[in-house]
C-alpha cells in the first residue's frame, strides 16, 4: 500500500502528460489493479481539468500599467532588487495561468476593496465635515434665538467647532457688540478670549472696548486683555478713562490693567 502514496503523487503529472513512458506504464498498471487510486485519479483529474478550463478574466487596459506601478511602488519600498530577475522569470513562467488568474482576481478584488474603503473613509470625512458645518449653521441660527439661554448655548458651541472660521468670529463679535442681554455678551466675550490666537479676534476685541457700555463687560474685557497681554488695548483704555460717569470699579480695574500691561 506504500506504493499507492508514491503513485498518487504522480497522478497530476500523468494526467497532464508529463511522465516519461516507463513511469507512465508503471502507474497505469497500478491503476488497473487499485480502485482507490483510480478514484484518486478521478478526483485529481477533475480538479486539474476545472483549473485548466478556468478562464482568466480579461484585465482592463490600464490594469497592467496600474499593476506595474503598484509593483514598482512595492519594490521601491521593499528595496530587494537582487531577486528582481528571478522574480520576473518566475512570474513569466508559461505554466502558471492559474496563479495569474488568481493574482488578477486578487488585484481586482483588492482594488475594489481599496476603492471602497477609500470611499468609505472619504464618506466619513465628508460626514464629519457635514456635522461640523451643520453645527456651525445651527450655531449661527441660534444666535438669533429670542431666548438668552439658547443664545448662550449657541456661543458655547464654538468650543465644539474644530475649525473656527471668519463667519463664526463675525457672529461672535456681532453678539458681543449688540446682544441685548449682558450675560450673553459676557459669554461671547469669553468665547472670543479663547480664540486669542486669531489676530482678527484681538483687533476686534480692542475695537470693542470703546463700544461697550455695560461695566460688567468693560471689567471682563480688561481681564481678557491682561490675560492676552494685548498692549494694543492700552490706548483705548486710556480713552475709556476719560469717559464721564465711568463706573468706579471699571476705572480702578482699567487703571490697574494699564499699569500691568505697560
Amino acid at each position: 500500500m506504500n506504493d499507492c502514496e508514491e503513485y498518487r503523487e504522480r497522478l497530476a503529472d500523468w494526467h497532464m502528460g508529463r511522465l516519461d513512458a516507463a513511469a507512465a506504464a508503471g502507474l497505469e498498471r497500478h491503476l488497473n489493479n487499485c480502485a482507490d487510486c483510480r478514484e484518486a485519479l478521478a478526483a485529481t483529474a477533475f480538479v486539474l481539468d476545472s483549473i485548466n478550463n478556468l478562464q482568466a478574466p480579461e484585465p482592463p487596459a490600464n490594469m497592467k500599467v496600474d499593476f506595474r506601478a503598484m509593483l514598482d511602488d512595492f519594490k521601491a519600498k521593499e528595496k530587494k532588487p537582487v531577486f528582481r530577475d528571478r522574480v520576473w522569470s518566475w512570474l513569466l513562467q508559461p505554466r502558471l495561468p492559474l496563479a495569474y488568474g488568481l493574482i488578477i482576481l486578487l488585484c481586482i478584488g483588492g482594488a475594489y476593496l481599496l476603492g471602497r474603503s477609500n470611499k468609505q473613509g472619504h464618506e466619513i470625512q465628508e460626514l464629519h465635515a457635514g456635522v461640523q458645518e451643520q453645527k456651525q449653521t445651527m450655531m449661527l441660527a441660534m444666535l438669533d434665538n429670542p431666548l438668552a439661554s439658547e443664545r448662550i448655548k449657541a456661543v458655547s458651541y464654538t468650543n465644539d467647532l474644530k475649525k473656527v472660521d471668519d463667519k463664526v468670529i463675525d457672529a461672535l463679535f456681532t453678539t458681543l457688540n449688540n446682544d441685548p442681554n449682558v450675560n450673553v455678551r459676557l459669554s461671547a466675550l469669553e468665547a472670543l478670549a479663547a480664540l486669542g490666537n486669531h489676530p482678527e479676534v484681538r483687533t476686534g476685541l480692542i475695537k470693542s472696548i470703546s463700544t461697550q457700555d455695560s461695566p460688567v463687560i468693560q471689567l471682563a474685557i480688561a481681564d481678557v486683555m491682561l490675560k492676552l497681554q494685548e498692549k494694543g488695548s492700552i490706548s483705548p483704555f486710556k480713552q475709556l478713562l476719560k469717559q464721564r460717569g465711568l463706573d468706579e470699579n471699571v476705572r480702578d480695574k482699567v487703571k490697574q490693567t494699564i499699569t500691568k500691561l505697560i
Binding site: L147, A148, S149, I152, K153, S156, N181, V182, N183, V184, L186, S187, E190, S214, P215, V216, L219, A220, D223, K227, D247, N249, K253
Partner: protein, 253 residues
C-alpha cells in the same frame, strides 16, 4: 444723624401713602395652559412676579404719583400668549404680578426702580437690573440674571437639564442654590470676594484646579482667573461672576 434720617424716612413714607396710585390689570391668556411669555421692560420699576393657581396674568400697579389717575398709564398687551407690560418713561412703578404656575418665559428688566423678584414659577427667566438686586426663589427651570449694584439670590426647585445659565453683578454677593443632583460645568470668578461651594468642584487638565481650603470650604486660585469645576459629571455651563462680594453655591435643602 441717624435719628434725623429716621424722621426723614417717616415723613417720606407718609407722603407716599397719601400720594399712592393703585391699579389692577387682569390679562386673559389667549392659549391658557400653554407656555406664555411675560415681558416687562420699565426703567423705574420694582417688579415682583409670583406664580399662583390661576389662569390669568394679574398685574397690580402702584405708583408714587400725586395724581392717582396717572397710574392708568401702565398698560398690558396680550398677543399669542405673550403679555407685554409697559409704562411711560421716567415713571416709577411697583408691579405685583401674579402668573399661572404653568411654564412661562419671563423677560423682566429695570434700571433703577428697585429689586426684581420672582418666586414659585416654572420656565425660562431672563432678569436684568442695574441699580437693584435680583432674587428668584423656588424656581423650576433656568435663570439668567445680571445687575450692576445689587445682590443676586437664586434658588431652584428643579433645574432644566442641558440649559446654560449665567449670573453676573459687580457690587453684590451672589447666592445660588441648586438641587443636589445638579449636572453642570461651573465657571466662577470673583475679583475681590471669596467663592464657597457645597458641591465638589472637579477640575480638568485644561484648567487650573481650584484649591479648596479645608477649614472654611473656600475655593481659591493663586492666579487671577476663572474657577472651573464639573459637578455631577458635568453639563451645561453655569457662569457666575462678580467683582465685590462673596459667591455661595448651595445645595437646595
Amino acid at each position: 444723624m441717624k435719628r434725623y434720617c429716621f424722621v426723614l424716612i417717616i415723613l417720606l413714607s407718609t407722603v407716599r401713602i397719601v400720594a399712592q396710585g393703585y391699579q389692577q390689570l387682569v390679562v386673559h391668556l389667549s392659549q391658557p395652559g400653554k407656555v406664555f411669555t411675560l415681558n416687562v421692560n420699565i426703567g423705574r420699576a420694582a417688579i415682583n412676579v409670583r406664580g399662583y393657581d390661576g389662569k390669568d396674568v394679574v398685574i397690580n400697579v402702584e405708583t408714587d404719583e400725586k395724581n392717582g389717575r396717572e397710574s392708568m398709564d401702565v398698560t398690558a398687551q396680550e398677543k399669542n400668549n405673550e403679555v407685554t407690560v409697559a409704562a411711560p418713561r421716567r415713571k416709577a412703578v411697583r408691579l405685583n404680578i401674579r402668573v399661572p404656575e404653568t411654564s412661562g418665559i419671563f423677560k423682566l428688566s429695570s434700571i433703577n426702580g428697585g429689586t426684581i423678584m420672582v418666586s414659585d414659577v416654572t420656565g425660562n427667566l431672563e432678569l436684568q437690573n442695574k441699580s437693584g438686586g435680583i432674587s428668584a426663589l423656588n424656581i423650576s427651570g433656568s435663570v439668567i440674571a445680571s445687575t450692576l449694584s445689587g445682590r443676586i439670590t437664586v434658588s431652584f426647585k428643579n433645574v432644566d437639564p442641558g440649559v446654560p445659565m449665567a449670573f453676573s453683578t459687580i457690587s453684590g454677593g451672589i447666592n445660588v442654590s441648586f438641587p443636589a443632583d445638579l449636572k453642570a460645568n461651573l465657571k466662577i470668578r470673583s475679583d475681590l470676594g471669596k467663592v464657597y461651594s457645597d458641591f465638589d468642584l472637579v477640575g480638568d487638565a485644561a484648567h487650573p484646579k481650584a484649591v479648596r481650603d479645608e477649614k472654611d470650604g473656600v475655593y481659591h486660585l493663586s492666579i487671577d482667573d476663572w474657577i472651573f469645576g464639573r459637578v455631577g459629571g458635568g453639563g451645561p455651563e453655569m457662569l457666575i461672576k462678580n467683582t465685590n462680594g462673596n459667591i455661595h453655591i448651595y445645595k437646595t435643602k
